[in-house]
Structure formats: C-alpha cells, structure tokens
Symmetry: C2
Subunit: 364 residues, 2 copies
C-alpha cells in the first residue's frame, strides 16, 4: 500500500488550555488510507503515541525498507480495513513529523519557535485534530483508535467531542499518568537539557543535543522493556566470546544493545518536540477540574473497547478497569479486554495479533 503525506494549514488561532493561543498559520501533517464514503460515515482516526508520526501504514515509496508504524493493523483486509474505511492519522501538534512544533518558524521572526513554543495539552492536540476532521468533511468518526498517548487522545475525544465519536478503542492507556511517569519524563527531559549542545533549546542550525537524546532514549528503553524480556532476549550473554575480559567496555550483549539504542534512537526526532509532547502527557488527567472521572464521559453515546495487557505495569489493567467503570457510570457501553503478552507497554505494536483480532471483532 502506498501512503501519501498530506498537509493542512489553519488560519485561525487555536485557543489552548493554558490560556495562551497558537497563532494562525500552523499546519497539521496527516496521511489517509482508503476512501471516504459518500455519506462520510466510514472514517477512522488513528492517534499516534509519543515518538510516532502520521505515517501509520504503507510505504511512501515501494523501496522503503519499513512500512508505517502500525502497518500490521491498517490496510486491505486488516483489522482497520481500508477496503471499506478511510483511516486517518495526523501528526501531533507540537511534534516533529510535519505538523507545526518547536522547530517550525515563528510567525514574527521566521526563526524556530524553540522553547517559545507554547505548552500544549492532549486536549489542545485533540482540538487541532477536530479542526482537521472539519477540513476533511468528517463530522463523526466511525471510530477513534489509539494506544498509550494515542489512548489519551481517544479519551479526550470522548470527553470533548462526545457527539463526534461512534466507536472508541483505547489501548494500554489510563485516565491520568502516574507519579512514576511524571518522574520518568522529568529525567528524560533533564538528560536533554543537561547536554551542553541543548543551548536552552536554541540548537537549530548548530549540533543537536544528540548525547542527551541518546541518554533519554536509553533511559526510556530501560523503563519500556520489561525485566523479563531483557532476560529472555539477552540474559547475561557476552557481546563477544565466552569469558569476560574485565574491561571498561560494554562487555555484555544487552549493554551493546543499549549503546545502539543510544546511537540510533536519538536520530530524527526533535529534542524540543520530545520535551513538549512529554509535558502534554504530564498534564493529562481526565479527572482534573471535574467532580468525578465519570463526568468526563457525560453525554457520550460511544461504544468503547478498552484493551490492556497483563504485563503492562506502566498502564496496568486496573487503569483501564477504572475507565470502564467511569464510562459505564456515564451510560456508555464500555467493554474492557485484558490481553496476555510478555511485551508490556509496547505490546499493541510489537505483539499486535491479539489486539488486531479484538479491533476487527469490535468494529465488525
């Protein structure tokens, strides 16, 4: 399947949760797979996670080595079936995959926004998606789908635009981040900020803070990959030979792997975007300012499937169960499915067969 990047530019300012507003002229990068039906009732929005982008499926050119980040789930005959749906995925506002963000030119001086870029919330990002839906002529989504930070967006869609969502599928997600996640993002951001190349965020045109990004990426991998998966994939195997050499080098295979992660993981993602996107996650709490979590879903009519993984200790099944109960209390038809996987938080991407089946059945 060939995928074509598209761009939408918005002229009116976007009011933000913080009270500030993003000036008009900002843009949203997106891709679509399949065709919108004449009644515009077959569109599915896929919301991406922290480090992904609008390229969810297919290849931009036949020779591309890898397809989009959720290609297993999107395409003809796949769970999000493009034979009879239009699947839309847009890059998050504040990201670095074509949508406006800290690397974009500031309208006043044409220099990158850098840390002048405003702090956004998931709600702000969803508002930007809603404007994109308007632009595409999609009044109601047949379904809104996403995992982790993508799941946060699904939940904000239900909270902010209850009349615009038929079905919602929120995977490996939660009504709010944990204290642990707040700490994690702070450490990742600090790794970037402590890199002298960071220059207070004004590194555009100079060397990027790749050392800090590499550290942050190693660090994220450390939290993301479970102790069990590390033991199974690497164990105590040495990178070379069968006996330790007792040097200061990374002698073990898992250490060599983490060094690779630090080298490769830092490429292609704007450090300032990582700062802003993790900030948006920090502030995500559907209960904030509401008398109860159920209140967030008041007035909704969506059918909801929540999927969690038994091995996901970052967004454990209890978090999805709390959401299901709040949704049920608000009158939504909500189901919660706990899947088994060893892959923990990344399971919906790296071990997607189970969630694929569940999605296909749910949407059928």
């Amino acid at each position: 399947m060939l995928a074509e990047p598209s761009l939408a530019v918005f002229d009116s300012p976007l009011p933000l949760t913080s009270g500030a507003s993003l000036p008009g002229g900002y843009q949203i990068a997106y891709e679509t797979y399949g065709r919108l039906s004449p009644r515009a009732d077959n569109a599915i929005l896929v919301c991406h996670g922290l480090t992904a982008n609008a390229h969810a499926a297919g290849r931009h050119a036949p020779a591309d080595p890898k397809p989009g980040w959720w290609d297993q789930a999107i395409g003809p005959g796949r769970p999000l079936d493009t034979d009879n749906h239009l699947v839309v995925c847009s890059n998050l506002l504040g990201g670095c995959g074509g949508s406006s963000g800290p690397a974009s030119p500031h309208p006043q001086d044409g220099r990158p926004w850098a840390l002048r870029w405003p702090v956004l919330t998931i709600a702000d990002m969803v508002d930007a998606q809603a404007r994109l839906a308007d632009r595409l002529g999609i009044e109601r989504w047949r379904a809104v789908v996403g995992g982790c930070m993508g799941g946060f967006q699904v939940l904000e869609w239900l909270a902010r635009y209850p009349a615009r969502v038929d079905d919602a599928l929120a995977i490996s997600t939660s009504a709010r981040v944990s204290a642990h996640t707040l700490a994690l993002w702070e450490v990742v951001r600090e790794a970037i900020r402590r890199d002298p190349a960071f220059q207070g965020g004004d590194y555009y045109g100079g060397p990027a803070p790749l050392a800090g990004m590499g550290l942050g990426t190693m660090f994220g991998m450390m939290i993301w990959m479970s102790r069990q998966v590390m033991a199974q994939r690497f164990g105590l195997r040495l990178a070379q030979g069968h006996e330790p050499r007792y040097t200061l080098e990374p002698e073990f295979a898992i250490q060599a792997f983490f060094q690779q992660v630090a080298q490769n993981g830092a490429r292609g993602f704007d450090p300032n975007s990582l700062i802003y996107l993790t900030k948006a996650m920090d502030f995500f709490d559907l209960s904030r300012g509401r008398p109860s979590l159920a209140q967030a879903f008041a007035g909704g009519r969506a059918r909801v499937l929540l999927v969690s993984y038994d091995s996901d200790w970052r967004y454990p099944p209890e978090d999805s169960e709390e959401l299901r109960q709040a949704m049920a209390a608000a009158g939504l038809v909500a189901e919660h499915l706990v899947l088994h996987s060893e892959f923990g938080h990344g399971a919906f991407i790296y071990d997607s067969a189970g969630v694929g089946r569940a999605m296909a059945e749910f949407l059928a």
Copy 2:
C-alpha cells in the same frame, strides 16, 4: 556512639580476577564498633552496598547531623549488638570513602589513577577484606552480613573463604545480576561518560562531571523507588498551588523531588568509583566457571540466613530461594525469610525493623 575512622595500608600487591594485580601500597578505610573478644571469636563483618562506605554506625562527632548508614542495626542492644560483638565495616576497594580507588595517586606518577585503575570484581574486593581481617587478627568471622552488593560480598566470602565464616546473612541479593541490572549500570555509566566534564575520567583538579552524576542518580532513583512508593509519597500533587501553570518547569512534586535528587545525589561520590563499582557488579555471577551454583558453596559449614522482600523486583525472593537451594545442596544450613515491605530494594535500610528482628534472632 562515637565512631572513629581507621586506615590499613597493605604492602604486597593484590592479584585480581582479571589477571592483573593492584600494586602494593593500597589502603583500606574501615571502622570498628565494640571490642574484639580475647579469643577473637565475636567479630561481625558488615559489607556495604554501592554508594555507602565504612561509616556504618554512630557519629564521628556528637554534632554530626546523621549517624552511619546502618545505625538502626548496629550499636549497644541493637541487632548487631556492640555490647558483645566487634562490628567491622570497611570501604570497598575501588570506592571513594577512604579506601584506594581511581581518585588515589598512582604509585608511578602520583597523579590520580583515574581510568588506569584496574577493573575489580566482588571477589577481588572480598580478598582485600580478607587481608584486612588478617590485619585485625580475625581468623573467623562470627558473622558476615550485607545487603544487595553487600550481599554479593557475603556470598563471595562463603565461596572463597568457607572456613572463615560461622554465620552469614545475605539480604536482598542474588547469585548474579540480571540483564536488567546490566542495562541499568550501562545507562548510569553512560550518563557520566557523556558529560563533557568527564574528560575521559581525568577530571581531577577540574570541575567534576556533576551533571552526568546527577542524571545517573535520578535514573538510579527511578529504578530504585517503586511505582507504588512514588504514588503514595507524591502522587500527582503539584509542587506549588492547586492548578497546573502549564510551563516548562517541573510543576509536580515528584519532579521537584527528582530535581533535588539530581542536585544532592551527585555530591561527594567520585564518578570514577561509581563506574568501577558498578562494573564489579556487572561481573558478579557465582555460577561462572563452576559446574553448578551449589559448587560455589562446597566445603562450607556456615549457617546462612537469606532475607528477601516481597516488593523487591530487582532481587526478588526467587533469587534468594535459588541460593538457599544451592546452599542446601552443598550441605549448608540455609534458611530463607521473605519479608513484607513497600520499600522494595531499599527495604533493609529504610524499613529495617523486620530484618533487625530476624538478624537478632539469627545471631542469638
């Protein structure tokens, strides 16, 4: 209780696991609490963990704000009772608490060893402790006690000097590190190495790589403190006020705490020592080079108490159980006690009542 730092200098070279040897003239810092009996049969060795030192109990001066790191466990009438024992704690070789290490002068040029310091193993460190025991006239330890990396030393004592240990108490420990720990140390070391102030380890006399140490410390805290403890102690509380301000500052209380950890945690510990001590942990595997783990304990006569914590996922109860079975197979009298605590890996220091009772009963 007043504690007095002591120093022992050793003239003969120390042969190392790597095949290299540490030149004579190296020193070991230690403290003792209580008195050695006339028959020299009441001495207890306390082995410290990664970032601790020989100052295990009491105060160096009455005005010291804090006593030694395990003061709850050591003193008159305490579990390691100094009324009738001599308790000894020595700073690890390669550390920075008075024993020789990378910051010490190299015998050839008087400049700090820095990364010329040899890679040591836990076995090497225990050999250095055995020489200190000789110096103190202690042929057999009444008990050898330690948690985590201190537990590794207890296990090496049993493996290398089976005739010199009466009782052994190994807390929150394991026969080997996990792949997860190998990855963790690699990331901590990389945080230090990527600090430009690190200068390939030759930072003595210039600014220390405090930024990298701070990051490494934040990172270690992230792994060390459990998700549950973070939720209980901090939750999603803001550092100031009741409403988010949507800034790039660390707005949440747990984030402010982690920033403090990065500021304070980096002080007073030599980054090169952290590199060498974590390296020693990397290479710790009691099974390596032996047909079975039980073989490590062959010929031993010690009575052993293994203590683990239900919430310690880094060195979980299964690891202690594996040790108990291997010890039993080798003919040792080994008992394994699983304690409950919310504190995970740090429980034996921060929630020490349970282990204190167990130690007192075991030694009685």
